[in-house]
Symmetry: C2
Subunit: 461 residues, 2 copies
């Protein structure tokens, strides 16, 4: 059923794997507003960040000049375990939808961490090892990032302490077990092991946790432990740099067959997946050489781009991090227990926020989880891959776009990111299969409570 | 770290994917003894089998002439979703073991069913669909076969009824959920939905079930339902034919780099994985053109090759199936609740049994599950893949062989089958990580009880 000899799966060779990550920030027309020290309201310096992040990652975080950053040899070696990842032509889905659209997805779930998160985890673990640290701390939502970091730390022999959002830890005991198999220590967050965790528990004893809470705990654990640094799986510039490998490979694979996307679709929680997938295509758009349409898909339960404010805000619930100018629902906003745990973040990558604000990231679309699981089930049946709920957000919109093409007769080329598998999300599938899944859509009143927590910063724009 | 430009993963192109399966039986020096009708003790005929199996699969089951059988187009189309599967050079494991051996593994876990079982499931579902049947029934142990069949039936729109060994159904609720996501009906076995199930429950109310029991129930459900046939994921000749694609691809991938295995290792429950992996190499051995060493690895808790008898026996506990000459522990033998549910079968493929009896399958080795999980954990850490407990049996012996090479300095080429992932086996990993896993080794008395149930057939050899 293949056309023009385009195979179902396009594999790059290991020699064709990119040797450098791409830093979109160097090409942005307007850089994102600087990250601010909440005490001084001045831009954070490398010195401010070094107690929290590894030195090299601090450099990457602040790097607004270098378009490309060389991938270290040991990271390339590890990448060969699971990269280049396949770019799949979704022939079966196209047939099912009777669409003239050509649908491609970059499949990042074929490694044991089950998601794209490993691309940045191994880089961050490598830099920590190179700096002779003892270990790292982090938070995890759905568990994908924590699993990836556990694998990376297990490989380099680093200690790994993971704060896992409580609702995910409860829904996904086996995720925890995978992390422990790789030698990590997993703590449900909020916990009583940190000051900030105890404070949050005192204020909201029944909270199911959030990425924002878990970040606060992980940062505290890092800065109060000798030889540890904090690492983060999304939101940060450094993570978008590492994840650019998704888009670079996708672009190279498409170009082998003379293809280029009209539409690029990714789920967006903190923004690392979409940021990575769209990076090289965004480069073309910024350079004026192509004009793909970018769509960020977020859960209706946590609609930071579609209903949030573009404002300076804390990156965590405990307000221990610097302030970032981003689309935010307020750092105190705790989303309902939607099953896409990886998308339950109150803010959005400053890079993506700026690109959205400036119109380069064309559209954000919020979708309810019931329609997301409907898309996931259809996709699983016809394409043979059981997607993670996060990834199924992108699938939902890719299907909608392809169906629109069936209406109009347009043969658009659609590219979306299939970030991970749903093997550890079966509790959610059971709920959907049983017909008892509900959508959670925050009311304006819910949002107002979150917005009320956004700091007022006189004189700062 | 790659040598001789052999990449970490060798991908065949879709054009290089085999177009025909290989039937080792056509090349065997001594065919296996015929399957007998238990009533007449005469060889079963196609007419005997047609009420149970699809017509085309009956032909394949009895086919001892055709060396190659063409893969139908719709099956090839489906194969493209996840095949050719990668052949991986285990550079990281070699380094960890400081071995001069070259280790390769054929990785069959990269599809949503999580194992090699999909190779036969889609073929069997296709033939059922082509015969215009309503649906199929089957049993599943670890859940890999049931998941694969559910996917295949979901793809072709066939009804799928799965009897799942009770201990697995209890250990793996999420496996059940995946099957249900693909539209299958899953029943824990023994159940009260069949006569044979009710009988087994009456005799042994506390049984945790076995593949043998579940087969009896599935066969009964098929032959008593209009428009249904029974399908099986291992043991049968037809399944070994379909699984030959594993070995055919592995051989083609190795030959691209001038490589050929000295040792071929596979876990063996019913024998489909090892049978498929070794098939084209066995062809060379039978033709006298090469002499690779074949090792079957089985659990110490269910040692059909290493401690069983080569005798005619029933393929199921309920004694509703024909009699096969094979290595068997007796159809009434119910193994301890070892975590490798897919290897808990009392018998062994008649083809593999005959090849072992005749010395072409060189060696069988029984290993305890504690040492198996030790190997699994090591492999997961250094190779980045979390293996299924079944697959980890092969990993255990591959590591032992590679370590022996480190002692002797021999640079053997070792090929093993990595049949599946362990994402649905985390309860077992939790037990191992917690240090509370035990080995189950049947006593001679345990075995004697099983042997006592092997039928005495005067005049039949």
């Amino acid at each position: 059923m293949a056309e023009k000899n385009i195979p179902y799966k396009i594999h790059l060779t290991e020699e064709e794997m990119p040797r450098a990550w791409y830093n979109v920030r160097a090409d942005m027309k307007t850089d994102h507003r600087p990250i601010l020290n909440p005490g001084t309201l001045k831009p954070v310096t490398a010195d401010d960040l070094r107690p929290v992040f590894c030195d090299e990652l601090v450099s990457q975080e602040l790097n607004d000049r270098d378009r490309f950053i060389e991938i270290p040899g040991p990271v390339l070696d590890f990448y060969r375990m699971y990269r280049p990842s396949p770019l799949v032509r979704a022939y079966f889905l196209e047939k099912e939808l009777k669409t003239p659209a050509k649908i491609y997805y970059k499949y990042e779930g074929g490694n044991t961490s089950g998601s794209h998160k490993l691309n940045s985890a191994i880089a961050q673990a490598y830099y920590a090892k190179a700096q002779a640290l003892k270990g790292v701390t982090t938070e995890t939502g759905a568990g994908q990032w924590g699993t990836a970091l556990s694998m990376a730390c297990g490989y380099f022999g680093l200690d790994c302490r993971v704060f896992m959002v409580k609702v995910s830890a409860e829904q996904k005991p086996y995720r925890k077990a995978v992390m422990e198999t790789y030698g990590a220590t997993v703590t449900a967050s909020p916990s009583d092991t940190t000051q900030v965790g105890r404070k949050i528990l005192a204020e909201t004893p029944n909270t199911t946790g959030s990425l924002g809470c878990a970040i606060s705990e992980a940062v505290e654990a890092a800065v109060t432990s000798d030889g540890y640094r904090y690492v983060l799986g999304s939101v940060l510039n450094q993570v978008l740099i590492h994840q650019s490998i998704i888009g670079l490979e996708a672009k190279a694979a498409l170009s082998k067959y003379g293809e280029y996307p009209d539409v690029v679709i990714g789920c967006a929680g903190g923004g690392s997946n979409l940021g990575g997938l769209m990076a090289p295509f965004m480069a073309d758009k910024l350079a004026g050489s192509a004009s793909p349409r970018f769509i960020a898909v977020e859960p209706a339960s946590c609609p930071s781009l579609t209903r949030g404010r573009f404002a300076y805000d804390f990156c965590d619930t405990g307000k221990v991090t610097p302030l970032a100018k981003m689309y935010t629902l307020g750092s105190s906003f705790i989303p309902a227990s939607n099953h896409a745990g990886g998308l339950r973040y109150h803010g959005m990558s400053p890079i993506l926020s700026q690109l959205y604000h400036d119109g380069y990231l064309d559209e954000a679309r919020a979708v309810g989880q019931v329609s997301v699981f409907e898309a996931a089930g259809l996709f699983a049946r016809v394409e043979g891959l059981l997607p993670a709920p996060e990834s199924a957000h992108a699938i939902r919109v890719a299907i909608d776009e392809a169906r629109a093409c069936a209406e109009t007769g347009e043969a658009k080329t659609i590219l979306f990111g299939l970030t991970g598998t749903g093997y550890f999300d079966m509790a959610a599938y059971i709920q959907y299969n049983g017909g008892v899944m509900e959508d959670y859509i925050p009311t304006d009143e819910d949002l107002k409570r979150g917005f009320d927590g956004i700091p007022e910063l006189p004189g700062v724009e």
